[in-house]
Every structure is written in C-alpha cells, then in structure tokens.
C-alpha cells in the first residue's frame, strides 16, 4: 500500500544505523522533524507518568490503613502537589502535543509543521520546564532551610503561596517550571493551528479533514486562550513574592478569591485540553475497528467546537463552596450541565459508529470500548457535582478525586493506551504483541475499577481529600484498603505494558504500512514514515482517502 512514500528512501537506507551512538543522540537533540519531536514528547511524558504514578502509589500506601506512619505530612503534601502538577502539565499536555505532532502533518498530507524550529523550541521548553520543577527536590530549600519540592497543591491557592506561609523557593519552582513549559505549549499551539489552517494537501478541505485533526485544531486554539491567563496569574504571584506587590495579599485589600478565578479560568478548560485528544483518538480508532465511517461527522465537529467555547464558561463550579452569590452559582451550574450535552452527543455518535458494524476487538478497540463505559460514569458524577447543594456536601472529598480520576484515567489514559497500540506499528514498523496487550488491558482495567470505584464511597462518607492520615472508626478503612490494593493490580497491568513495548521494539512482528486496514493518510506511507513523509504530495477526494485508493470502484467522494 506504500504508494506515496517509497523509492527516494532506497537511496538513503541504512543511514543513521551505522552512525555511532553519540552522533545518533545528537541527531535527536538537533532535530526539527515533527515525528521525532512527537516521539520525544510521548517518551518524556511516559517517563513523567511513571514518576508521578509512583508518587500516587506511595500516597496510597500511606492511606491504606488509618494512622499510618509510612509518610509524614510534609512529604505527603509534596507528593500530592508534584503528582497533580506532573500529571497535568508534564504527562497530559505533552501526550496531546506528542500525538498532534506526530499525526497531524501525516493526516493532512504535509511534510512537517508550519514552523519546524518553533516546534523544537516548544518541546525543549516543555522538557526543561519539567526538569526545573523536579530540580526543586534538590534546589528549592534556598537559604531558609525550609521546604524542598512544592507543597501547595496543584492549584496553589492564595494565601498559602504568599511569602509568609511558603518559605524557601519551592513555590517559585512550581511557578517557573509551569511558566516555562507554558511558553513552549503556547508556541506549539500556535504551530498546530497554523499548520492545520495552511498546510493541508490539495483536496483536503475542512470538511474532509480527519476528525482527529479537527479536534486537535480546537484543542490548540483552546490552549492559546487559556494558558496565557495562567502565565499572567503566575507572574502576579511572582510579583507578590519578590517585589512586595499585593495581588493576592488580603492584608492590603488583595483577594484570594481572585486567584481562584484566574486559576480555574485556566484550570477548567485545561481539563478539556486534556480530554479532547482522547476524543480525537477514539474518533479515529472506533470507525476503523467497526469497519464503518464515523457516524455524524459534522455533528462531531460542531460538538467539539461547542465544547471548546462552553469550557471557557464553567470555571466557577470549582468555587461553589467559596461563597459566590446565588446568581453566579446558578449560571455556572447551568453552564456545567450544558457542556454535558455536546459530550453526550459524542458518546452517542461513537455508539452509532459501532452500531451494526463488524467490530474487531483488537487491543486498541478494547481500550476505546472500555473508555466509553468508564467515561459515562465520569460524566455522570460530573453532572452530579454541577448541582450546587450536592457540591457543597462533597466538594474537596474523595468523591471529587474519584470523579476526576475517572475522567483522566478512564477517559484520557485508556485512549492514550489505545493510541499507543494503534500507532506504535506506524512509528516503529513493528506490532505490539496482542496477547501481552490483552493482559495489560485486563489487569489495568480491573485495577483501575478496583481503585476508583470504591473511592467514591469514602467521599460520600465525608473523607476529605489531601489529608495524610485519618482516625479509625469512621467506616473509611475498608474502602481505602481496597483502593490501595487496586493500585497494585494496576501496576501488574503496567508491567505487562512496559514489557510489551520493550520486547516488541526488539522483536515485534513486522507491521507493514497499513496493519489495521485503515483509511487516513498516515497509513499510505511507510512504517516508520520517511523524513519527508510523502514522496509526492497526496491529493484527496473524500474523508477516507485510503478507502478511495483501495476501492476505486466505490469511492467515498461519490457520496459527498
């Protein structure tokens, strides 16, 4: 099927293989190729994922039994802050940019992003931002003998972040690490929007763009609008801490609530920035394994754009317990419920795609199917929390923790696994092992539900989040013990995954160009694709260019 990507390659075969290790590493450092940068994004995100996941495991050990002495309160606060910050900024975001980087140019038939050097800049800003955050473990004590890693929680509420309560430099590392990586994220978002709007191959109108690319366009635009407000708020905090400014200083009339508004104006759309790539992935994988075109493509695009807009108007649902006036609470409760509508439309469209299809339950499809089920639970608890009195009761309890872990693991991570199984053959030329993949799926889904389904209950029973230990006799013990055991089961699943990646890289079955019989352009070139992606610029006539190529007797374009 490699109709578009061969032959020049034959001149260059073997190049790179023969180079010494240092030279090959150097190639990765200086590269501006979107595929290499994409892989580096994904690989770094996986490393950060393992680090922050280990932190979660440590916290779960501490919480397994009441009055446990495994971790002290200071350590617990640091782990909690670093876990949340890392998972959002250095796992979720780079996963988005990694997959967008790798796939967007391939799917729109372009050679690279619009600004390749800006792309490399974005990646290195992200990576060094993350390293700066982690350097705080060594460097943040400063001259005060206080604090190492940040311990103010991932949303760093004022006035806890003021000089008086946060001595040393740990909070400054939190600010600067995120600020730097945010500059990189904004640069990459600019790059993605420009690429998608200007670099599409002939025939690839906006109406024929793969839904993956559409969602990435909306997602990148969202990043543009929400990351700079976070940067602005963080600069204000820096001014407060270093120049004696009063933005969040209540003694001089400043407002701690303003920080919450600024943070959540970023923070809630950020949740959609993280989950939209999951939707993008599901929208590519479910049709291929249902052997049907995506159901309701225009509605899916409209729903995505709606989510983008509405997501910027829901932020104060994180602040119902602050004491805003009833009108504000009502508005944000209504907008929060409203955003469930386009999201629900998507769920039904994926189901509509599967309906009547010849479904093949290969590993990517298994993950996407599990995603549909888990994400409905996540969405339902989300709508419950949008009800203001219900939120008053359960805000800052483990119910909320269980809710957003269902979103970010059952929603995002499941689809990231699906994407890795689906596109690994394209990026490496080798298949991931199906049997190990199923073991990974089984153990991880079991462990995930064992961890996070029971976690709702201590929340309902009143267990607050962020406590490092608790008294016995409140009915929380059994739920916490099960939750912690679930983590161990998840770890078993992850070990199968890691083993699968390592062994398949060495000796996986050769993938060929188009192992899944898929329809988008990335499967038209070789696996892995050559540096220039396509030998000749492809021309497309429908939403499924490869279908047209494989079935010239019945091209899709006829039905458009």
């Amino acid at each position: 099927m490699a109709v578009l990507g061969q032959s020049i390659d034959t001149v260059r075969t073997g190049e790179g293989e023969s180079l010494p290790l240092a030279a090959r590493l150097h190639e990765w450092v200086v590269t501006v190729d979107h595929k290499r940068l994409g892989l580096m994004y994904i690989a770094s995100a996986l490393v950060f994922f393992l680090v922050a996941g280990s932190m979660a495991a440590l916290m779960r050990i501490q919480l397994a039994v009441p009055l446990n002495g495994f971790l002290g309160p200071n350590t617990f606060n640091r782990l909690m802050t670093m876990h949340g910050t890392t998972m959002v900024f250095f796992v979720g975001m780079p996963m988005f940019f990694g997959f967008a980087n790798y796939l967007v140019p391939l799917q729109i038939g372009a050679r690279d992003l619009a600004f390749p050097r800006l792309n490399a800049f974005g990646f290195w800003m992200f990576l060094f931002g993350g390293l700066l955050l982690y350097f705080s473990f060594l460097g943040a004590e400063g001259l005060y003998g206080a604090g190492s890693a940040p311990d103010v929680g991932w949303f760093a509420y004022a006035p806890l972040t003021s000089r008086a309560f946060s001595r040393g430099n740990s909070t400054d590392y939190w600010i600067l690490g995120i600020l730097l990586s945010g500059v990189g994220s904004t640069a990459t978002a600019i790059n993605l929007v420009t690429t998608i709007l200007t670099m599409r191959c002939p025939g690839m109108t906006l109406r024929r763009m793969p839904l993956f690319v559409w969602i990435m366009l909306v997602d990148a635009a969202l990043v543009l609008f929400i990351l700079s407000p976070l940067a602005a708020a963080q600069v204000m905090l820096l001014f407060d801490r270093f120049l004696g400014a009063h933005f969040f200083d209540t003694q001089a009339g400043g407002s701690a609530v303003l920080w919450q508004h600024f943070f959540w104006f970023f923070g809630h759309p950020e949740v959609y920035v993280l989950i939209l790539p999951a939707f993008a992935i599901a929208s590519e994988i479910i049709p291929v394994f249902s052997r049907k075109p995506l159901f309701g493509y225009p509605v899916m695009v409209a729903a995505t754009v709606c989510i983008g807009f509405i997501s910027m108007g829901v932020w104060a649902h994180h602040m119902f317990t602050v004491g805003l006036d009833p009108a504000t609470n009502t508005f944000f409760a209504a907008s929060t419920m409203a955003i469930a509508v386009p999201t629900g439309i998507k769920i039904f469209n994926w189901l509509g795609t599967m309906w009547g299809g010849r479904i093949r339950f290969r590993v990517p499809m298994l993950w996407c199917t599990a995603f549909l089920l888990e994400f409905v639970i996540a969405g339902l608890t989300g709508v419950m929390l949008a009800v203001v009195p219900f939120d008053w009761q359960l805000s800052d309890t483990y119910f909320v923790v269980a809710h957003f872990h269902f979103v970010l693991i059952g929603g995002l991570l499941f689809n990231l696994f699906a994407a890795i199984y689906f596109w690994f053959p394209k990026a490496t030329g080798r298949m991931l092992d199906e049997r190990l993949g199923r073991l990974h799926f089984f153990w991880f889904v079991l462990g995930f539900n064992l961890t996070f389904l029971p976690m709702h209950v201590p929340g309902l029973l009143g267990m607050p989040r962020r406590i490092y230990t608790y008294q016995p006799g409140r009915g929380w013990e059994i739920w916490n013990m099960v939750t912690t055991l679930g983590v161990a089961v998840q770890v078993i699943g992850l070990l199968f995954f890691l083993w699968n990646v390592v062994s398949s890289l060495r000796a996986g079955a050769p993938a060929g160009d188009d192992p899944w019989d898929a329809w988008t352009l990335e499967w038209a070139t070789t696996s892995p694709p050559p540096e220039y992606n396509f030998e000749s610029v492809p021309t497309v006539h429908s939403r499924r260019p490869l279908w047209d190529l494989k079935h010239p007797d019945d091209p899709d374009g006829r039905w458009e």
Binding site: I190, L224, S228, P229
Partner: protein, 195 residues
C-alpha cells in the same frame, strides 16, 4: 473531482498565510494575557487601602498616545513602500516608526520617574501601584520587544539585505505593532481616562 492544478494553486495561497495566521494566534494568546491584567486592574479599582489614588497622580499621556498611535500609520506606509520596492521611503517610514515608539517609551520612563520619586508610588505601595505597574509595565515591555524587532529589520535594510520579497515579513511584524497599539488604547481607557 476537482482539477488538481486548481487545488495546488489554492494550497500555495494558503502557505503564504502561514506568517499571518501564526501572528494572529500569538495575538490571541497575548490578548488573553493582557485581559487578565486588565481584569485585575478593574477588580481592584478604588480598593486600595492607602493612597495615592489614580486621580491624585495620573494625568492623560496625550503626547505619548499621539506618538504610539501615529506609529501605526507610519509602519503601514513603510510596508506599503517596501511592497512597491521604494526602499528609500521604506527606510524613512520605518525609522519614523522606531522614533515614535522610542518617544513613547521615553514618555513612560519620565512618567514612572515622577510617580516613583515624586509621588512615592511603587509596585509595593498599594493595590493601585501593584496593578498599575504590572499592566502598564507589561505593555511597555511589549513596546520594547517590538522596537527590538523593528531595529533588526532596520539593520537588515541598512545593509541592503531587504527586498520586496520580505514585504510579507514586514507586514506580519506590523500586525504585532498594531496589536501593541490596540492594547495601549485599552490601557488608556481603563487606566487613564477611567481614573
């Protein structure tokens, strides 16, 4: 099926828009950034626990405003001249833009000197000082960055390395400059006229 020659032409047209769309995206992000500082300024308006208040110390910077707004006109004339291949006119208008931008910065510097040393208003004095210096300071920083980029272009022009083929680059840069101007109009309305 559409003729591919037609398509290829359309694709080339789109490629020419790379710079403009990239700059538009940057402007969107920057608008968000300034939006937060403007919201903070308005939120804290009149809430300073101690003086001085804006009405006590601020006066409308008429001359600086005229300088900055007219520099938007001169940069447009410069880009038009470059497009037409009139290199002499380009240099004059471009230099005029830099001079006007620099005068604006000088006016800001004088204003700040008076505020800090004459009136005793610093970023740590009260909420007005905090929000005022942050907002006006970030705008001035953007003017400075713009001037730096304008100076690079001037350097290239003086060494004869700038041709009509670079008009698109100059155009994209001028968008940034217009944006900085537009932010100033907002700052003027919120901070100075609304004092």
């Amino acid at each position: 099926m559409i003729a591919s020659a037609h398509d290829a032409e359309a694709v080339d047209d789109l490629h020419a828009w790379k710079g403009r769309i990239g700059m538009a995206c940057l402007i969107a992000a920057e608008t968000s950034f300034f939006g937060v500082f403007i919201v903070a300024y308005l939120f804290y308006r009149g809430k300073s626990a101690t003086g001085p208040q804006p009405a006590d110390v601020l006066s409308t910077p008429l001359l600086a405003t005229i300088c900055l707004l007219s520099s938007s006109v001169t940069i447009s004339l410069a880009v038009r001249a470059l497009r037409a291949g009139l290199h002499g006119a380009f240099r004059i208008w471009w230099l005029a833009t830099i001079a006007l931008g620099a005068s604006f910065l000088a006016a800001t510097a004088l204003e700040w000197r008076e505020l800090i040393f004459g009136r005793g208003l610093t970023i740590a004095t009260n909420l007005f000082g905090t929000t005022f210096y942050a907002l006006v300071g970030f705008h001035a920083l953007h003017v400075t960055l713009g001037l730096t980029m304008l100076a690079f272009v001037l350097g290239a022009a003086l060494r004869g390395r700038l041709g009509a083929e670079h008009a698109e680059h100059a155009e994209v840069l001028s968008w940034y400059w217009h944006f900085v101007d537009a932010v100033w109009v907002a700052v003027l309305a919120v901070v100075y006229l609304g004092r």
